[in-house]
Symmetry: C2
Subunit: 297 residues, 2 copies
Amino acid sequence: MDYLNKIFHGDCVDILRDFPDNSVDLIFTSPPYADQRSNTYGGIKPDEYVAWFMPRAEQFYRVLKPTGTFILNIKERVVNGERHTYVIELILEMRKSGWLWTEEFMWHKKNSYPGKWPNRFRDSWERLIQFNKEKNFHMYQDTVMVPVGDWAQSRLSNLSETDQARDESKVGSGFGKNISNWLGRDMVYPTNVIHMATECGNRGHSAAFPEELPSWFIKLFTKELDVVLDPFVGSGTTPVAAIQLNRKYIGIDVLEEYCIKSEERISRCQIPLFSIAEKNELNEYRPNSPARGEKER
Amino acid sequence: MDYLNKIFHGDCVDILRDFPDNSVDLIFTSPPYADQRSNTYGGIKPDEYVAWFMPRAEQFYRVLKPTGTFILNIKERVVNGERHTYVIELILEMRKSGWLWTEEFMWHKKNSYPGKWPNRFRDSWERLIQFNKEKNFHMYQDTVMVPVGDWAQSRLSNLSETDQARDESKVGSGFGKNISNWLGRDMVYPTNVIHMATECGNRGHSAAFPEELPSWFIKLFTKELDVVLDPFVGSGTTPVAAIQLNRKYIGIDVLEEYCIKSEERISRCQIPLFSIAEKNELNEYRPNSPARGEKER
DNA sequence: GTTCCGCATGAATCGATAG
DNA sequence: ACTATCGATTCATGCGGAA
């Protein structure tokens, strides 16, 4: 398996042909939006977007395990005063080719950039579309539980400012562990709305998402040592999140400059990897079988 | 214009045929979602939903002014483990018949229905799809500005329910007094994400959406004395919101029981209408032009 | 006259059971 | 095999009664 934990330079439709069938547990990616980053990626025209995407989706389908999940982060751009339809056309087209459209998560970008137009407000959300090959995909819901929303309201009516801060951050923070230790409150399952701020410090990539975003889905749909693929890896956020969570990664990008940038970022986070490995050894002493969770069939 | 400020009993596709062209400024509605069971509204099957909706959309198009807006509140149901595609198919079909798909707002329902399933989380958002006939529709952005900061924003949204002057007890002693403090502060434009809780305290009435939801869009897309149409009026939330904001309303529902319920609710809020009229007279003494800023309150 | 707590109530979804 | 019905699951919200 020497294709694991590497960044590949090239078009994912070509690179993936050398990969085996049913070998990836999660595909998480944010492809170049239509015409949005034309200076870097060569700009796919909105009307040609579906035709451009589908051959790649076919490879995604092939390499994904039957129990795996494909999360597509995308948003239609405004063309000529209208929202373009390439995203919803893509959903229909992927269903025709066998994908199941299981769910559509909504990412509420809390700090979207300010701006004013005469006929629309700031765009403050993006789609995270969940596709699957089969209905019985793996889902580890307990890994993303959040504190119950009630505690601030029922407990501290005086600290209104801080309870608002808690409310905003409760779903957004990537590691429920920290919050759970924070007060040891009861935990509840999240919803399909994800509140996260966009990445402020742009890492030299034109469409970076916060690390918490892939982290959330990696925890939800994979277990340790599973394989996470990002076929449009960009600045390497998905591999970094995978490493932090002790998953294996595959990154692909058509721009060599991004491949280099990703590898640099990945090399800088190898140290946390060791500590996670040590924790793994400890985990082997735990009575619970780690592969089981207590949910998904 | 004796068709104004009335509730009509019947199928909107029939009722609207008697209405003149280009006579409505805003259509705000939440149609019966596709339902597999056929008990209440006759249960439109998901596969037949687009075909059922389009003749009605054709009438909507005819009666809407060229500068008007159509806001459609809808959400696809889960069918056989997948999100059904009737909503996105409807968007494509409406564009084919001339509608512009200008924008898609997100309604984040803070109190979504509870439940736990092995393969999905609670559904916590709905679509508010904006359609227009022409690009130069009316939009009064200044009427929905919000104070800077999430804290003030959430507080103010809670307050606006009670500023309809029905229930003074909730906020009367607390933040309500301080609301005037915020009116002089910095205001910013909102985004296309709307955070609101659903109505859950109403016994007997199954108000699908809170009054504040139509209020927000009525303020955004109409001015005083404009005409607001809800062709699936249900319990009458949209007309009530229109009355509170001094707009004219038209309500239609196929179920007589809902028509009666709407008229009862409307008659109960006629008294606040007088007080609004009085406030309007007072407003004329204010230095600000009353037609512009945020006077309805 | 406030504050606080109990409780009913949602545009839900899945899986099993029954016809 | 396919459709219809039912029970179990689960949590933010707002009202009403009590302290």
